[in-house]
């Protein structure tokens, strides 16, 4: 059963982003859109036996690269993200799959590596393009159009227009 997106955004994404010092409304929305597109807020193991894990469908190799080539040089952020692990000795791979707070922080760290600034809040097409370029990447199966369709299906087409008024 899918998680409620609004509850997930307000009780998991926002507190985690604040805890690691990387909160903004745009970041919260981008991560919610990413989780909706990647997993429908349900799948924790990739369909068809692929390597991606958790609500954000991050591959262990990607997570390792974030730790080895990004967080390693940003110890304050690394310590904040480590504090979200389910225990000090927890497996980072298992937590990627089952610990939504840790997975959210890793997804945010992934976006923090992107060379371009985050899109504007409520600009869903720009969010979709940003997700495709930096998260799903050109090698991934997804497309910006799918991201937008997933968002509209889950959040409602009028959700953004209402928020802009």
């Amino acid at each position: 059963m899918a998680l409620n997106p609004t509850i997930f955004a307000n009780t998991v994404i926002a507190p985690v982003l604040q805890q690691i010092g990387l909160f903004s409304p745009a970041a919260q929305q981008l991560l919610l859109g990413t989780a909706i597109q990647e997993s429908g807020l349900t799948a924790r193991q990739q369909r068809a036996g692929g390597p991606a894990l958790g609500l954000y469908q991050m591959e262990p190799n990607t997570a390792n690269d974030i730790w080895n080539n990004f967080l390693k040089y940003r110890q304050p952020l690394a310590k904040k993200i480590e504090s979200l692990l389910s225990s000090p000795t927890a497996s980072k791979v298992q937590d990627l799959q089952n610990n939504d707070r840790y997975a959210t922080a890793m997804a945010r760290a992934h976006y923090a590596r992107a060379p371009m600034p985050l899109p504007q809040f409520n600009d869903i097409p720009a969010m979709a393009a940003y997700w495709k370029q930096y998260y799903n990447t050109p090698l991934g199966a997804g497309s910006p159009a799918e991201f937008i369709a997933s968002w509209n299906k889950t959040m409602g087409v009028g959700a953004v227009q209402a928020a802009k008024q």
Binding site: K132, Q133, P138, L139, A141, S143, P144
Partner: protein, 185 residues
Amino acid sequence: MIGNGHWRCAAVVLGLIASCWFVNGLRAAPPQPEIRKSDSGKAVHYLMMFELTRDNTVFPGVDPDVSATPGASFTLRDGGQFEVEIMKSAFPVSAPACKTRLILRMPWTNSEAPQGKVAIADKEALFARLDKLRQRQLGAVPVAIDLSPYVKATAAPPGVELTACNIFFRDVGGRYVDMIDDFKR
């Protein structure tokens, strides 16, 4: 009691069986490919040419007689993306994590990037050629494949092994490159 003639006959039959088995074995094993290692500065790529044929290629979601891989579909999508599947048994690089098929995907191209629309048109042209292959209007389509990033080096020939079931058409900066030689944008 069995006479010499019978023994000779049995030996000939066994010899024929062994020969057939040996020849079939040779026929079944895909030839060793030339795999070229290319370092882009950002990543190492393992490149090879491969000839797609109607016998070794599955068009997911279109071929009626095969079970579809969840989510896979031979359709042209935005950014020039599409995918076909290759029978694992026909592919010359080992893929121990895969059951029967490998997903060969054309990477996405940003249409807003410089030359993006031209690159997408090239990818669409390849898709059209593969659709002709699907309809048996073409016998074979040679393509350039990038085995990275789901690949690791091995001691045994051909020197690499796939770690997942995904391989990609060779893409350099959003453009499909139909060869394994060095390519500069």
